[in-house]
């Protein structure tokens, strides 16, 4: 363990990067998932096609490839876009943190799209009919009946997506963001003790995964509280 002396603070800052990545990407993931599932469920053919293309591409491509493409491509694409509006713009930088979180969110968001879609479809149509029979409008039905019923169904698979999300943050080392795995590599360069250092990274991620699992369990308990009394 003395090989780790002096590296603990680096691991702490690396973990902080992981946590920040996680939360930013989580919010974006939910956003992409909701938009994607709404597009898939809508009767609009263009929205359908775009959403289908989105899930096919991001679920079928290796994460590392998406990340590399995003990292290299984002700045150039963004610059090209900016130059359309203002030819004088030389360069728009896309910080690796944002490239990383956006890439991860787009990947996991494509999975969340399917999850949310399934959950919306899984809401008992009888409840929706009951709401309509009571005179609730479509929007009211959506907010007061479909979303509360949907999130209970979506939570278990979404918990799994959150685990994939936290683990995908390890990939951003490949684009040079200084998270825990990158810290470990730097430390290995100095100490030549890869086994110990990779184990530390593994343990850190196991810790994150445990926290997420427990949180999801609590949320599920809350979401299912109305079923608890029943056997």
């Amino acid at each position: 363990m003395e090989v780790l002396t002096g590296w603990w603070d680096d691991f702490f800052w690396g973990s902080l990067v992981v946590v920040k990545l996680f939360f930013v990407a989580l919010i974006l993931t939910v956003l992409f998932g909701l938009i994607g599932s709404a597009a898939k469920l809508s009767k609009n053919r263009v929205a359908n096609a775009i959403a289908n293309g989105y899930t096919i591409v991001f679920r079928g491509t290796p994460e590392i490839l998406v990340l590399l493409l995003f990292y290299f491509g984002s700045a150039i694409a963004l610059t090209a876009l900016a130059q359309v509006f203002d030819p004088d713009v030389k360069f728009v930088d896309f910080p690796p943190f944002w490239a990383g979180s956006l890439a991860i969110a787009l990947i996991i968001g494509s999975y969340a799209t399917e999850t949310f879609r399934g959950a919306f479809l899984g809401v008992d149509s009888g409840q929706i009919e009951a709401a309509r029979a009571l005179g609730l409008s479509n929007l009211q039905t959506f907010i007061y009946v479909r979303i509360p019923a949907m999130w209970r169904l979506a939570l278990p698979p979404f918990g799994n997506h959150m685990l994939s999300l936290i683990k995908d943050t390890a990939l951003v080392a490949i684009i040079g963001l200084e998270e825990t795995l990158f810290v470990a590599e730097q430390a290995i360069g100095y100490t030549a003790k890869p086994f110990t250092l990779y184990l530390v990274v593994g343990a850190i991620y196991l810790g994150f995964s445990t926290i997420i699992t427990l949180t999801v369990m609590l949320c599920e308990k809350y979401a299912n509280r109305h079923l608890e009394i029943a056997k």
Partner: protein
């Protein structure tokens, strides 16, 4: 003026982080020296080697100060300042192996490379050299310099080709490297290793390039480069 500088941050002793997280090394010192002379603020960006040039071209940073050799191929895509250190390569292998790889004129003997695995960094000048001079050699590509030593010790490769200064300092002089030695003469064919290591920048920045060259000249003339080198090596390397 603010200049962003790309480097690997894992290529000791040229650019690396110590246990306190401070960035240091010969490249870092050169970059700081140049910045002082041209009056710019620096921001260091750590970047994996195989994405170094794409990242420069994508404007992730403005300069590459990462022990990058000036080669014709690279010059097609980017520009370089004058050199601030020499560029050579050398093979490292097991002491006991008794390898005879080069003839008396220091030319490699291709037959003797058969059945041997050589580790090099992906997209390095060393990889280029092997590809052209010994196309039949069994070359294994690594993402970082550090993994070269790890796998050499683990026995996954029979030898590696890398920068001899680095190999000496980071490996051969350490406990891990005790059973290993240089198994080749210095290889510095200009065709591959160019004229040395320079500061990389995007094309079309001639004004910046001129300022860099002037600063490097000052550093060389006034003995700064030598003093940087002596912090890590027992000799000057420019």
């Amino acid at each position: 003026e603010k200049l962003r500088v790309g480097m690997e941050c894992t290529y000791a002793p040229f650019n690396f982080k110590n246990e306190n997280g401070d960035l240091m090394g010969y490249d870092v010192d050169v970059a700081r020296g140049v910045a002082g002379l041209i009056g710019a603020d620096l921001e260091f960006v750590c970047q994996k080697w195989d994405g170094m040039i794409p990242a420069l071209l994508a404007n992730k940073f403005d300069l590459v100060v990462a022990s990058m050799s000036i080669t014709d191929k690279r010059l097609e895509k980017m520009d370089f300042s004058d050199t601030y250190r020499i560029s050579v390569g050398r093979l490292v292998g097991k002491k006991s192996a008794g390898l005879k790889l080069f003839d008396s004129t220091d030319k490699p003997i291709p037959a003797n490379f058969a059945d041997l695995k050589v580790g090099v960094e992906r997209a390095s000048t060393y990889a280029d050299w092997f590809k052209n001079e010994l196309p039949k050699a069994n070359v294994v590509l690594y993402d970082t310099n550090e993994s070269l030593y790890l796998d050499l010790v683990n026995g996954r490769t029979d030898m590696i080709m890398t920068n001899p200064m680095k190999a000496h300092l980071r490996f051969l002089s350490k406990e891990d490297g005790a059973g290993f030695e240089f198994v080749s003469p210095q290889i510095d064919e200009r065709k591959y290793f160019g004229i040395g290591v320079g500061i990389g920048l995007r094309k079309g920045n001639d004004e910046l390039k001129a300022r860099l060259n002037k600063a490097i000249k000052t550093l060389t003339d006034n003995g700064y480069l030598e003093s940087y080198a002596l912090k890590y090596f027992p000799f000057a390397i420019h």
